[in-house]
Each structure stands twice: as structure tokens, then as C-alpha cells.
Amino acid sequence: MAAQARWSSYRHDGAESVTWAMTGAPRGEVGCAVLADLLAPHPDVDRKRVTLLYRPLEDGRAARAVERDRHTADFRVASSRRPSARALAEQRAATRTAEEEARGAGLVDFAMLVTATVVDTPDGAPDALAAARAAVDTLAGTARVQLRPVFGAQDSAFAAALPVGLVLPVHLGVPAELRGAL
């Protein structure tokens, strides 16, 4: 079986897939059904996979991390005479996270990958793929997340979204532990 990664799609066996990564988590409050439309089957997509990747932080590191985030946000607000609305919102979010952590909540790093697969037909494949891209772009709006195709790394992103336990951050040139400390 052969597979071929392209710049913005991944061709494997008799199908073609596109994988998106979440580049913007929902802002503000979301209900438990916010992902319902994104998860539900869609007529334009033969197979759709939504993978949520969680990396829980250890308790000791979590406390340090939230405190550091809060200090950073506080510093941004304090360093300007007229702080921007965004800086103020970040400060509120950091304070709330710190409060929740202090009350016993855990801290988790999460990411989301969305893979749409269409069956490769000799004549209609490009159209089907375009329809699938349009469908996922629309669904991202209803889920209040920002999605961006993983350009240039469609094969590894596809593999990372499979339930096989592939953790991409540990395979990078600069390991996760090092980047977390930066």
C-alpha cells in the first residue's frame, strides 16, 4: 500500500484526506453541544474524524504555570497607562484560571485535529475534496473554533489524529519539555 503526502492533502490507498488543526480555541463560554455539528456525519464528507488531544500537567507544574501566566497578564496590564481591552480580558482569564486551579481543578493542554476523507474516484475526486473542505470550514464556525489545514505535514498530522497513541511533540527536533520551559 502506498501513500503520498501533498502540500494540503494526503492520498492513501483509495481515498484522499485533509487534516486541520485547531488554531483558535473557543472564546468565552461554550455549551456541551458546541461540537455537535462538527462531530455529526455530513453528506459531503465520506469519513470525518475529530480528535481531541489532551496532555494533563502534573499538579506541581500546574500551580507554577498558572501563577506565571497570571504574572505575565498582570505585567502587561500594569506596564501600560491605558491597557488594551484584549490585555484586560487576558488578565481576567488568567486570574480565573488561577482561582480554579487553587480550588482543585487540574490543568490540561489540549489540541484538536479534524480529518476529512473522501473516496478517490477517477473523475470526481477534486470536486469531492473541495466540497469536503468547504463543509469543514463551515462547521468550524458553528463549533466556534478556528481551523487551519496543516500545510506541508498532512501525513504526520493524519497519523497523529488516529487512535494509535502517536504523540507528535516528543518526536520534534525541540522536545516538548524544552519548549514548555522557554
Binding site: 488543526a21 484560571t97 490543568l107 504526520s156 497523529a160
Partner: protein, 359 residues
């Protein structure tokens, strides 16, 4: 042919990122998905199980899911045996008239027949299943006025099967058949009396009388006629359980009601044309079977209920025989899917069915 790992070689050695070359799987660039930090209080908001999952591809294909378009497979035997989704192999189909309850059951029965499970349709009132079973090469048993008779005292294949068994297995099978026959008899009496079950004394008389007949008959099964004659004769064993204090007149008084009810089951009685003689076609246990009772008029609810009840008893008896022989290693193990269509008719016809009819 099995591929041995050593034989499957790809030319060249893989590099750090896989085999180089088009289509061979080397990953040129890795990019981890951007991560977002949140407390567990907030991260659970992106609830990943907001929509249901698909169903397992196990069982008879029924059709497509209306929402997702995915194939839906469902039947009680496969979901119990292989998919392990349900804890008992049974299904109850409920729906408004004309929406396809019987069609679903037909489809399940047909699919299960393909899996090697024998459909056993005990009482087809429409008929919905006769053509299906006929096409499967099964047995169509017609019952009704002038169509066919059913002798509820006939143990069917139980007697022949019991002769092939020994010890406990034989005793169990015979006791099982006796209990089922007893329940059917008292069920028929209940139908004749418009819903009132026989009294304790009458139950005992029936039990003792059928045992007496078993001892007497030398091969040909007794009929309701013989049962009535035994009750009329009043042998010593029966007079003892009736507690007649040695007076024949008292015996006659106490068994009068039972005698009247049994008269309804012999020729000339209300249900006599169906139950008054020897069984015309016995139910087989080794092929699909449908018992066609569609010739009975819908207005005769008593006959319908009595027929369904007696048919269930005979059908479950055939299944019990099959299991007993398979347990003893005398026959291959057979699985049956028993279809009880139009259950509500029997439930409406009288009380006491839950103990009397469902094995």
C-alpha cells in the same frame, strides 16, 4: 498463503523519517498541533461525545440510519451472541399500525436464517410469514376449522427424543413436556370460561388424569376425548384427589364444571373442530416452521387465543427437545428465533397467561 515477515523486504534501508521516495511513506516535515491551556473546569466544555456513535456491523443489515446514513445492523441473536450489546436474546417490536413491525421481523428472520438460526413463527394471523418460510424451504403448518387439528395432549417428538436419552436428561425432558401440556390444558379451559382459570382441584384432576393416560396409551398419543372419558369414568386415583369421601355422587358434582369445559374441546364443542382429534402435522425442529392460523375469523377471539397458546406450547416443546438432544450430544446444536406475532390478542383474551404461556 501467509506472508512471513522475513520474506517481505523493501529495497533499501529506511532513513530516520522512513523510506525515501514517492509513495513510500517518509514524513518530511512534522508539525505538532497547537496546544491550548485550560483548567479541567473549562476544557470539558468541548465535549467530544455530543453526538451518538455508529452501531456495530454485527447482525442482519436492516437499512440505513436516518440521520447519518450509516448502515444499521440489528437482530436479537447476533446482538446477544456476538456483539454482546444485550443481556438476553430477545426483542420486543412496538409500533403504530402499518409502519412495518412485521416487515422488520420478517427481515430479521430471513437474515438469521442465513446465519443458520431457524425461524419458528408460532401463530401467523395475517399471514405475513407463510411465503417467506415457504421460500426458505420450511414447513407450513395450517391450523383452523377444517384446515388442520392440534392435539394438545400429544407430546410431539418428546416421546421419541426421551427414548434416546437416559437418566436425568430424560426425566427433565419428560417433566418439562408434562408441565407445558398441563399449562396449555388449563389455558384452554380458561379461554372456554371467558378468562376464569380452573380451580386447584380441577388442576389436580387434569394433572392426574393426563398421567393416567400416559401410563395406559401404548404408543398412540391420547386425545382430549380420552381425557374426558377418564374424568367421566372416575377411577380410584382421580376420586382420591377429588376428595369425594367415597361417594360417587359427590365426585360427579365436583367434576361437573370441568367435564362441561372439556366438552368444549371435543367434537361438537366450541373449540372441538381444532382441538378434538389427533394432530394432523407435527411441528419439526430441524427446519424453518410457520404455523398458519390465518383462516380463523378475527371475530373468534377465543379460538385465536386458544390456538396461539397451544401453538406456543408445541413450538417451545420442539425447541426444548432440540436443546435436550444437543446437550446430550445426539444432535447438532440448533438455534431458533421464535416469532410471537400479534401478542396483544392473547394478552387481551384472558388473565393468567404470563404463567401459562411463556415457557
Amino acid at each position: 498463503m501467509r506472508l512471513r515477515p522475513g520474506r517481505l523486504r523493501v529495497a533499501g534501508e529506511p532513513g530516520a523519517r522512513g523510506f525515501a521516495g514517492p509513495g513510500r511513506g517518509a514524513a518530511g516535515h512534522l508539525e505538532a498541533a497547537p496546544e491550548w491551556r485550560a483548567t479541567t473546569v473549562q476544557a470539558c466544555g468541548l465535549w467530544p461525545f455530543a453526538v451518538g456513535t455508529g452501531t456495530p456491523m454485527t447482525g442482519v443489515p436492516l437499512g440505513r440510519d436516518l440521520l447519518s446514513g450509516a448502515t444499521l445492523c440489528c437482530d436479537p441473536v447476533s446482538w446477544f451472541q456476538r456483539a454482546r450489546l444485550i443481556s438476553t436474546p430477545s426483542a420486543f417490536v412496538l409500533g403504530r399500525p402499518g409502519l412495518g413491525k412485521s416487515t422488520v421481523v420478517r427481515r430479521m428472520a430471513l437474515g438469521l436464517a442465513g446465519y443458520g438460526v431457524l425461524p419458528l413463527v408460532l401463530g401467523d394471523l395475517k399471514p405475513d410469514y407463510v411465503d417467506l418460510v415457504d421460500a426458505l424451504g420450511g414447513q407450513v403448518v395450517s391450523l383452523g376449522d377444517g384446515r388442520g387439528r392440534l392435539n394438545v395432549l400429544d407430546p410431539g417428538e418428546t416421546a421419541a427424543a426421551a427414548r434416546r436419552l437416559t437418566g436425568d436428561a430424560r426425566a427433565r425432558l419428560l417433566a418439562d413436556a408434562h408441565g407445558r401440556r398441563q399449562a396449555t390444558l388449563s389455558g384452554l379451559v380458561t379461554v372456554l370460561r371467558g378468562g376464569a382459570p380452573p380451580t386447584d382441584r380441577e388442576e389436580t384432576v387434569l394433572d392426574r388424569a393426563t398421567r393416567l393416560l400416559d401410563d395406559r396409551s401404548g404408543g398412540t398419543p391420547a386425545t382430549v376425548h380420552d381425557l374426558l372419558q377418564v374424568v367421566r369414568d372416575g377411577p380410584a386415583e382421580l376420586r382420591a384427589v377429588v376428595v369425594d369421601r367415597g361417594e360417587r355422587r359427590r365426585y360427579d358434582e365436583l367434576t361437573e364444571a370441568l367435564e362441561a369445559s372439556l366438552l368444549g374441546l371435543v367434537d361438537g364443542g366450541r373449540l372441538g373442530r381444532v382441538f378434538g382429534g389427533p394432530t394432523t402435522v407435527p411441528i419439526r425442529r430441524d427446519r424453518p416452521v410457520v404455523v398458519d392460523v390465518s383462516s380463523v375469523d378475527d371475530a373468534r377471539t377465543d379460538l385465536q387465543a386458544a390456538l396461539l397458546l397451544a401453538t406456543w406450547s408445541q413450538g417451545f416443546g420442539a425447541v426444548a427437545v432440540s436443546h435436550a438432544l444437543a446437550d446430550a450430544g445426539l444432535e447438532p446444536r440448533r438455534h431458533h428465533v421464535v416469532v410471537l406475532d400479534e401478542l396483544w390478542r392473547v394478552l387481551r383474551a384472558g388473565r393468567g397467561w404470563s404463567t401459562g404461556s411463556t415457557r
